[in-house]
């Protein structure tokens, strides 16, 4: 009896194995990049595209689920399937699949940037250079701009297509704060006047780390970091004045700087609960989205430093084993259209900055963007772009986070 069961189980497993194998071998091995665009859209018809990315923002999720999914269905007969997954998990999954050389994966599009892109590209987890294939990329995007060519200092080489732009802003409540800090000195003054009412998320939180970098830029300037090699001693020397400043700021922070919120989400909630006077975000229109959902007070406002704040671009890429290349290309191309980018720019929907090159738009298209009504508390796009400084190379960032860890939280304890 036992033997029969064992044999039956084994047979089950082997048949599963075989069917799985035959699945992947049946896949047509044609090169998508050699097809013309009409053939690609034709082949994408009636298929499903799986979009993997961070799913922690309800507005972003709704925009993808409603607008993108609906329009792709109407226009190209593609079913858009959003799967919420953190980028670390996506990379782990891809690494696991790479290890056993799975040819037919599950992910068609990944939302990515920065060091994650670097990791993915270094480990050959990506499909390859595809942006030249996209009509909208050629038509609307300035392929020579630094923000498209480089992602946190790494060459993009067409392995990912820009999706949106972000820029660091700080958020305060007009009703509670009269003096708006325009540089690091005024920030310190503000903290001194309101002890215990300001803090920032502890790096390596994404936003907290950006805040620290922004302070560094404000104090020692940004030019020298762009080509800096990842040498800890040298970096330590360069950023010493900024670290000194953070030490000076520390006693006036929330809980006297003995502890920091570990995520930006906590800081947002503390701001919303009136525990601190300021929060920060890497999305400049975040404040209006949060006012709309009612989480932030209506008098909330974004601010940037006079010397500028860090901006970066987030991208979409295709993994090496994407099962549905045709519709991945069509979907990414659609997201680069004027229609999608302007809809995404509308704070009602998401409020993410567009990536299209203004010079490449005709008058009518420019109008569409100008007509998007920016929500409450946000800063106009041209002011943001005038005060935009580039990110540091991704391999310097962990070193700065390390230096922060060694110097700031431990001091005096």
């Amino acid at each position: 009896m036992k033997k029969i069961v064992t044999i039956a189980l084994l047979i089950c497993i082997f048949t599963l194995n075989l069917t799985a194998c035959s699945d992947s071998s049946n896949k047509e091995e044609e090169n998508v990049l050699e097809k013309n665009w009409e053939a690609i859209t034709e082949d994408a018809k009636g298929t499903t595209v799986n979009f993997y990315g961070w799913g922690g923002d309800q507005k972003t999720n709704s925009w993808l689920d409603n607008f993108v999914a609906r329009r792709l269905k109407e226009e190209y007969d593609i079913t858009f399937n959003r799967i919420p997954m953190n980028i670390d998990d996506i990379l782990n999954k891809l690494l696991g699949e790479k290890q056993v050389e799975v040819k037919n994966g599950t992910i068609d599009i990944v939302w990515i940037n920065g060091e994650n892109f670097y990791t993915a590209k270094k480990n050959d987890l990506l499909f390859g250079s595809f942006t030249d294939k996209l009509p909208n990329f050629k038509k609307y995007i300035d392929g020579d701009s630094l923000e498209v060519k480089y992602d946190f200092g790494f060459k993009v080489e067409g392995y990912e297509a820009p999706y949106g732009k972000a820029q660091f802003v700080m958020i305060y409540d007009k009703a509670k704060l009269n003096m708006v800090p325009r540089n690091h000195g005024e920030l310190l003054e503000m903290a001194k006047n309101n002890p215990g009412k300001f803090t920032y998320p502890a790096p390596p939180d994404f936003t907290g780390s950006a805040f620290v970098r922004n302070i560094i830029y404000d104090i020692v300037g940004h030019e020298k970091f762009l080509n800096m090699e990842a040498d800890k001693e040298k970096i330590e020397r360069e950023i010493a004045p900024a670290i000194e400043f953070l030490k000076e700021l520390k006693p006036y922070l929330w809980k006297e700087g003995k502890t920091y919120p570990s995520t930006n989400a906590q800081l947002d909630n503390m701001y919303s609960d009136n525990e601190v006077l300021m929060t920060m975000s890497y999305n400049p229109n975040y404040v209006s989205a949060k006012i709309q959902t009612g989480e932030f007070p209506k008098t909330s406002n974004a601010l940037i430093f006079d010397k500028g704040t860090i901006g970066n671009t987030h991208f979409l890429t295709i993994p090496y084993n994407a099962p549905n290349l045709d519709s991945a290309l069509v979907a990414i191309n659609f997201i680069l259209s004027v229609e999608a980018q302007s809809s995404k720019y509308d704070p009602e929907n998401w409020g993410d900055l567009p990536v299209l090159d203004n010079r490449k738009l005709n008058e009518e298209e420019k109008k569409i963007f100008e007509n998007v009504e920016l929500g409450k508390g946000t800063i106009a796009q041209d002011i943001l772009l005038d005060h935009r400084v580039p990110e540091m190379p991704a391999n310097i960032i962990p070193i700065i986070e390390e230096i922060w860890q060694e110097n700031i939280p431990v001091e005096g304890e």
């Binding site: 497993i13 599963l16 194995n17 075989l18 069917t19 799985a20 194998c21 699945d23 799986n50 993997y52 961070w54 799913g55 922690g56 923002d57 309800q58 999720n61 709704s62 689920d65 409603n66 999914a69 609906r70 799967i83 919420p84 997954m85 953190n86 998990d89 782990n92 999954k93 696991g96 699949e97 290890q99 056993v100 799975v102 994966g105 599950t106 992910i107 995520t263 930006n264 989400a265 906590q266 947002d268 909630n269 919303s272 609960d273 009136n274 525990e275 959902t293 009612g294 989480e295 932030f296 007070p297």
Partner: protein, 268 residues
């Protein structure tokens, strides 16, 4: 005597309050837009959470039904596997029994992350990754220890004497199992089943690793919101999660109770 009674009552109500109040706050938060200090009550309410969940384009309800189906199947499989194992551990004497009892708890003691990566690669090779069946299999790993543990204790209590009696009187093994063993262990099955169902329903890491995003369950929709600190969305999903679990537990209990009411021998 009377004083004792008061103390008992106060303690009881206090305990109930301590258990209920976090749930009440959860319910409130699912409607709260903003609740700043020092307001005692929220300043503004909204329905964003429930609107998002009930919006067909987010597929939340479909995911909910899939989760319930998946966890029910896992519960069934776990119980089927655990009954023989628990009987062996509870009733029979054999060498190394203590060791096996410990070993069966290993999946709870060893962190799942450590083994999950290996399981993932094995499942990719077997073609089980990204399939419903694969997710069911991998859910068995954290579920079986609980079921075996509970059912072992049940078997230790009921022993084998009743079954032997039935066999002596001429019942076949199958008859004995259905007419004697099952009714005897029904309460144990119920508690094991409930626990396993909840363990399976709350699996996050294993589900997405093995399911690869093809199989989406409720926690996979909920966790991003908890991480990003969207308290309204997180509370909404939590409430749906809790209510689902409660309903399923009630249904399970009702089924077992009805079954044994009709032809009751042992169920109390």
């Amino acid at each position: 005597m009377k004083k004792n009674n008061y103390i008992f009552k106060i303690t009881m109500y206090l305990l109930i309050f301590l258990l209920i109040s976090p749930l009440v706050i959860l319910v409130i938060w699912s409607f709260v837009r903003i609740w700043p200090w020092p307001n005692l009550l929220p300043r503004d309410y909204g329905l964003r959470g429930f609107k998002h969940v009930l919006d067909p384009s987010t597929k939340s309800l479909r995911v909910l039904f899939l989760s319930v189906g998946l966890s029910s199947l896992v519960t069934l499989c776990t119980l089927l596997i655990s009954i023989p194992a628990a009987k062996a551990l509870g009733v029979y004497e054999f060498r190394g029994k203590g060791f096996f009892k410990m070993l069966i708890l290993a999946p709870i003691i060893v962190p799942p992350v450590a083994v999950a990566m290996g399981i993932h690669i094995a499942f990719i090779k077997l073609g089980l990754a990204n399939t419903f069946l694969g997710v069911v299999f991998v859910h068995l790993v954290p579920c079986i220890p609980y079921a075996v543990r509970i059912l072992t204790n049940v078997f230790e209590i009921i022993g084998e004497s009743m079954e032997m009696q039935a066999r002596v009187l001429g019942a076949s093994p199958l008859q004995t199992f259905i007419k004697i063993t099952l009714p005897l262990m029904a309460p144990g099955l119920l508690s094991a089943g409930s626990l396993v169902f909840i363990v399976s329903l709350s699996q996050y890491f294993l589900t997405f690793l093995i399911g690869g995003g093809r199989i989406i369950t409720l926690p996979m929709l909920m966790f991003p919101y908890i991480q990003s600190g969207d308290r309204m969305m997180a509370s909404t999903y939590s409430i749906i999660f809790i209510v689902t679990a409660l309903i399923m537990l009630l249904i399970m209990e009702r089924i077992v109770r009805n079954y044994y009411k009709e032809q009751n021998y042992f169920y109390i």
